[in-house]
C-alpha cells in the first residue's frame, strides 16, 4: 500500500474506534481543569516567556555550554559520548554492554531511545532491554510504540493490559488497575536487581554542574539509576540548560503543564559516578544529535527545540483527541511530533501529518516554551508542497484562479448561478440557501451526509456594497472593511449588518473594491507564492483607501492582515512598511466596537432578552485574544449568555481541511461541538467567524433545525432594528 493510502486507512480505523477517542476526550477535559488549578496564583505567560528566553540563549550558546557540561561531568567521573546520530548512540550502548558482558538493561523512560529504536538494536545483539515505566512496559509487551509522550499507553484499556501481563507471566490477573499496578511493581523489581545496566533519559543536562535531572512519578528512574552497576544516560543535545536555576524553572512548568501536578513524585538530580555497592558507579552519558543540530540551524523551525516534552500540545489537540497518537504522529506525536518527525525521520515521513493539523492554535496557547507550533507546521507544509506538490485541485484553485481577482470573482458569480439546481431553501430562513446533497453520490460521505453545505449567495457583498446607503453625516471614524471570502460570497448579510451597526455609532464604512482573498487558504495548503501575491494586492487596496482603521469580521483574515502580511512581505522593502502601517490599525470588528468605541455602554439593552451561547473561533481567541468583547456586546444588547462546555474548542472547519484534506476528522470534531451546543438547550449560537458559521450552520442545521447560528454582527444589527 502506498504511504498516503496507508495513512488514510489508519485515519479511518481510528475513527471507527470511538472508545479511544472517548478516553482521550475525557482525559483532555480533566487535563484542562488540573492544569488551571496547578497554575493558580502563578503568571503562566511570564513563566513561559522566561523559559523561551532561556532556551533561546541555550541555542545560541549551545557549543560553549555543551563543552562546559562535558568538562564538569567528566570531572565528577562521568564518561560523555557525543553521537551524531541514533545509530552511533545505539552502537555505543551495544559496545559497552558487550564489554561488560551485560545481558539485561533496565530502562526508564527515554523518548530518544524510542527514536533510536534502541531496544530492537540491543535485541539484535542478544541483549534484552526491559522497560520499567509502567506505560512503556505495557507498550513494549504489546509490541507497539508510545502514543503519547507522557502517557505512552494512553490508547490501551485495562482488559488489554491484563491480557498482556497474563501472557508474559503466565498469571491470571483480573483486569483491575490496582491489581495490574501491583503486579508490575513485583515483576519489575526483579529486573532492577538483575540488570547489568540501568538506562535513563534526562530532562535536563546542567552545564555548570555537569549533572542531569529526571522528572518522574513512578520511581523507576531512581531504581534504574541506583541498583545496576552501570548507569547509561541517553539524551538529546537540546536538553542542555545553563545552570540549576534554569533547570528548576523547567521543573516549575513541566509537571504543571504535563499532568497538572505542582511537581512530580520524584525529581532526581544526578552528577557523576555515585557510589554503587561499595564501589564507584560507571556512568556513561550519551548525547545525541540525530537531526537536532539541523533543527537548531533552521531559522523557521528552530524554536521547536525549546520543547520540554510535556505533551500538552497533544492533550488539547482536537485532531489528536479524534484519532490518537498512533495516527497523528510518529515517534513524537501531535503538533511537536509533526516538526520533530520532519527533522529526525525526514520530510517524507512527515508528509501526511503535516497536513493533519487543523490550525486551531490550541497547542500554541498552552505551550510552556511559547513555541508557535502552527507557524512552524505551516512552514513545513510549504516545504512538503514544494517537494511533493499540493494536488491538482488546490493548484488550479490557488495559482490559476485566486491570484487573478477578476477571474476569481467572476467564477464565483457564475458558480452562484450554476449551483441552483442543487440548492434548497432552508426552513425558517427564507433568504438563505443551502446545499443538502451533492449530485455525485461518492461525495456524500465526506461532504453532505453530516452537514449542509452553504450555497454561494446570489449577490456577493462586493456587488451589494454600492447599493447600501450609509446615513452618516459627520463620521467619527472612516473604517476600511476587509470582507474576506466567507462574508463576501457566502454570508454577505454579515457585512451588511456590520455597516448597520457601525453607522448607528457614527462610523462610515469604506470598501476598497480591489481587495482580494487574504491568502490564508493558499498558505495553509503550502502555497507561499500565491500568499505573497495576495498580500500585495490587499496592501495596495487598503493603503490607497486612507482609512482610520481596518476591520475584519473573519478572525483568520484579521490575523492575515495584522500579522501575516507583514511576515510575508518582509523581503519586499517597498511593501513591508505599508504592510506594517496597515497592521497597526487592523482589528476584529468586535474588538473595534468594544475597545475603541466602547459600544457595550452605547448599546445598552437594545433588544428583548434572548438566550445565546457563544462559540469562540480559534483564530479570534488564540490569534487576537478577543473573547470578552463579543460577549460584552451581545449581553449589552439585551441577550443572556449561557456558556457551552469547551467554548474555545475548534469547530472542525479549518478551511480546506474540512473539504479536501481531512473531512472525516473534521466531521468528528464538529460532532463534539454540535453536542456541546445542544447540551446548553439554547437556540442561538453566536460566533464571530464565517468559517465557523459554515461548519456550525451546516452541522447544527442537520442535527437540529431549530438552532440558529449567527454572526455577532447579525445579532447586534437585529437588536438595533428591534429598538427602532
Amino acid at each position: 500500500m502506498a504511504a498516503d493510502e496507508k495513512y488514510k486507512k489508519s485515519v479511518e480505523t481510528a475513527i471507527a474506534n470511538p472508545k479511544l477517542s472517548k478516553a482521550l476526550h475525557l482525559f483532555g477535559d480533566a487535563y484542562l481543569i488540573a492544569r488551571e488549578n496547578a497554575y493558580r496564583g502563578l503568571d503562566f505567560e511570564a513563566m513561559r516567556t522566561d523559559l523561551s528566553a532561556i532556551k533561546d540563549e541555550v541555542r545560541i550558546r549551545r557549543k560553549e555550554l555543551l563543552a562546559e557540561f562535558i568538562k564538569n561531568a567528566e570531572a565528577a567521573g562521568s564518561t560523555v559520548f557525543i553521537a551524531k546520530d541514533t545509530k552511533e548512540a545505539n552502537d555505543y550502548v551495544i559496545n559497552l554492554a558487550k564489554k561488560k558482558g551485560a545481558k539485561l538493561v533496565a530502562k526508564s523512560k527515554s523518548m530518544v531511545s524510542e527514536e533510536a529504536h534502541l531496544n530492537k538494536a540491543l535485541a539484535a545483539q542478544g541483549i534484552r532491554a526491559s522497560e520499567t515505566d509502567l506505560g512503556e512496559w505495557i507498550v513494549q509487551l504489546a509490541g507497539q510504540r508510545p502514543s503519547h509522550m507522557v502517557m505512552p499507553a494512553i490508547h490501551m484499556f485495562k482488559e488489554e493490559v491484563a491480557t498482556l501481563f497474563n501472557k508474559e507471566a503466565g498469571t491470571s490477573l483480573s483486569p483491575e488497575i490496582k491489581t495490574l499496578v501491583d503486579h508490575a511493581r513485583l515483576r519489575l523489581r526483579q529486573e532492577y536487581f538483575n540488570a547489568d545496566i540501568g538506562l535513563t533519559g534526562a530532562n535536563f543536562l546542567i552545564a555548570n554542574t555537569g549533572g542531569i535531572g529526571l522528572v518522574t512519578n513512578e520511581g523507576n528512574a531512581r531504581l534504574c539509576a541506583t541498583l545496576p552497576k552501570v548507569h547509561v544516560v541517553f539524551a538529546g543535545i537540546h536538553k542542555l540548560v545553563r545552570n540549576m536555576e534554569d533547570a528548576i524553572k523547567i521543573t516549575r512548568l513541566l509537571p504543571r503543564n504535563a499532568t497538572g501536578q505542582l511537581l512530580t513524585s520524584y525529581v532526581t538530580w544526578i552528577r557523576g559516578a555515585v557510589p554503587v555497592d561499595g564501589q564507584q558507579k560507571e556512568q556513561h552519558i550519551v548525547l545525541i544529535d540525530g537531526g537536532r543540530e539541523a533543527l537548531y540551524e533552521s531559522k523557521a523551525c528552530q524554536n521547536a527545540l525549546r520543547c520540554i516534552q510535556c505533551g500538552a500540545c497533544a492533550n488539547v489537540c482536537p485532531v489528536y483527541q479524534t484519532v490518537g497518537g498512533h495516527v497523528f504522529g510518529s515517534i513524537y506525536i501531535s503538533a511537536i511530533g509533526i516538526i520533530l518527525t520532519a527533522f529526525y525521520e525526514g520530510l517524507e515521513k512527515a508528509k501526511e501529518i503535516t497536513r493533519a493539523c487543523i490550525g486551531c492554535r490550541a497547542c500554541v496557547a498552552v505551550c510552556p516554551s511559547k513555541i508557535d507550533l502552527e507557524e512552524i507546521i505551516l512552514h513545513l507544509r510549504n516545504e512538503v508542497t514544494k517537494e511533493y506538490g499540493m494536488g491538482v485541485v488546490k493548484n488550479v484553485a490557488f495559482k490559476a484562479v485566486m491570484k487573478n481577482r477578476g477571474l476569481f470573482h467572476n467564477m464565483v458569480r457564475t458558480a452562484s448561478k450554476l449551483q441552483r439546481p442543487i440548492t434548497h431553501k432552508k426552513s425558517g430562513e427564507p433568504d438563505r440557501r443551502i446545499i443538502r446533497h451533492l449530485p455525485l453520490h461518492f461525495l456524500e460521505k465526506d461532504f453532505t451526509e453530516w452537514r449542509h453545505l452553504p450555497a454561494i449567495a446570489p449577490k456577493s457583498f462586493r456587488d451589494q456594497f454600492n447599493t447600501i446607503s450609509q446615513d452618516v453625516s459627520n463620521p467619527k471614524y472612516r473604517v476600511g472593511f476587509f470582507v474576506g471570502c466567507g462574508a463576501d460570497f457566502v454570508y454577505p448579510e454579515v457585512g451588511v449588518s456590520l455597516i448597520k451597526v457601525l453607522n448607528s455609532l457614527n462610523v462610515e464604512v469604506v470598501f476598497p473594491k480591489t481587495q482580494n482573498c487574504c491568502g490564508i487558504p493558499a498558505l495553509y495548503a503550502g502555497d507561499t507564492e500565491t500568499g505573497v501575491d495576495l498580500a500585495k494586492q490587499n496592501v495596495k487596496a487598503f493603503s490607497e483607501a486612507e482609512v482610520d482603521y481596518i476591520l475584519a469580521i473573519c478572525p483568520t483574515c484579521t490575523m492575515a492582515v495584522k500579522r501575516d502580511f507583514v511576515d510575508r512581505l518582509t523581503d519586499h522593502p517597498q511593501w513591508s512598511a505599508k504592510a506594517m502601517a496597515l497592521s497597526n490599525k487592523t482589528m476584529d470588528a468586535s474588538a473595534f466596537l468594544e475597545n475603541i468605541l466602547g459600544a457595550s455602554a452605547l448599546l445598552k439593552a437594545t433588544a428583548e432578552g434572548k438566550e445565546f451561547t457563544y462559540h469562540d473561533s480559534c483564530h479570534l481567541k488564540r490569534g487576537s485574544n478577543v473573547y470578552k468583547e463579543p460577549r460584552a456586546l451581545l449581553q449589552a444588547s439585551g441577550h443572556q449568555i449561557k456558556e457551552m462546555k469547551n467554548s474555545d474548542r475548534c469547530c472542525g472547519f479549518g478551511g480546506t481541511y474540512s473539504f479536501l484534506s481531512h473531512p472525516q476528522i473534521s466531521k468528528q470534531i464538529t460532532k463534539d461541538k454540535v453536542a456541546t451546543i445542544k447540551d446548553t438547550g439554547v437556540k442561538t449560537v453566536a460566533t464571530d467567524c464565517p468559517g465557523c458559521m459554515i461548519m456550525l450552520k451546516g452541522a447544527v442545521g442537520k442535527a437540529d433545525e431549530t438552532i440558529r447560528c449567527a454572526h455577532t454582527m447579525e445579532l447586534l444589527a437585529e437588536a438595533l432594528e428591534q429598538k427602532k
Partner: protein, 186 residues
C-alpha cells in the same frame, strides 16, 4: 522559614498523599514510626542519624532496624527512615541529598518511607531552592539529590491515579523541632 511555610507545607504534602504531622519530640516520632512500620526497616547512617542516635532509638522502641548490608535486605523491605535536607512549602516536597547508596536504597525500595524534617528548613518554593541546590553542587564530587513529593504514583493505565508503582506506597513526613537548621545536612 515561618510558621506560614509550615502550614502551607503540611497542606501541600497532604494533598499529594503524604501523611504529614507535627510531632512534639523525636521520641514521639519514633513511637509513631514504631506504630506504623512493618518488617525490615532500613535506617542509613547519616550524620543526623548518628547525632540523634536514631537507630538506637528505633531499635529500643522495637522497630526491626536492619543491621546488614542494605542490598541484602530483600527486594521489598518493609520501611525506610531518613532525615532530609530541606522542604518546599508550595509543592509539599522533601529534598534529600542521597549520594550515599544506603540512603537511596532506604528511600526507593521499601513499602513505606518515613521522613523526619525540621520545620525551620521549609523553604517557600523551588525557586528558593536554587541557592541551596547550587551550594550542594559546589566542587566536582558525585552527587545524587532526590526531590520527593508524595508517594510513588502512576496514571499509566486508563489515566487512573494509582499509588505505589515502583517507589514507596506510603510516605510519612514527621515535623520535629530542633533536628537541624542546616540545609546541607541530613
Amino acid at each position: 522559614m515561618t510558621d506560614k511555610h509550615t502550614e502551607r507545607f503540611i497542606e501541600s504534602a497532604k494533598r499529594v498523599g503524604a501523611e504529614t504531622l507535627r510531632m512534639d519530640s523525636l521520641q514521639d516520632a519514633v513511637a509513631y514510626i514504631k506504630e506504623k512500620a512493618k518488617g525490615t526497616t532500613l535506617v542509613p547512617e547519616t550524620s543526623l542519624v548518628k547525632r540523634h542516635h536514631l537507630r538506637a532509638l528505633l531499635s529500643d522502641a522495637g522497630v526491626d532496624v536492619f543491621t546488614g548490608k542494605f542490598r541484602d535486605a530483600g527486594q521489598l523491605p518493609g520501611a525506610g527512615v531518613t532525615f532530609c535536607n530541606f522542604c518546599l512549602a508550595d509543592s509539599g516536597t522533601v529534598v534529600l541529598e542521597s549520594t550515599d547508596e544506603d540512603i537511596r536504597l532506604a528511600t526507593t525500595l521499601p513499602e513505606v518511607h518515613f521522613i523526619l524534617a525540621d520545620p525551620t528548613t521549609i523553604l517557600q518554593d523551588n525557586l528558593a531552592a536554587v541557592e541551596p541546590m547550587t551550594t550542594l553542587h559546589t566542587g566536582s564530587e558525585p552527587k545524587f539529590i532526590a526531590y520527593i513529593t508524595g508517594p510513588s504514583r502512576t496514571a499509566d493505565i486508563e489515566r487512573v491515579l494509582t499509588i505505589g508503582c515502583h517507589g514507596p506506597r506510603e510516605l510519612y513526613i514527621l515535623l520535629v523541632d530542633g533536628i537541624s537548621s542546616d540545609l546541607m545536612e541530613n
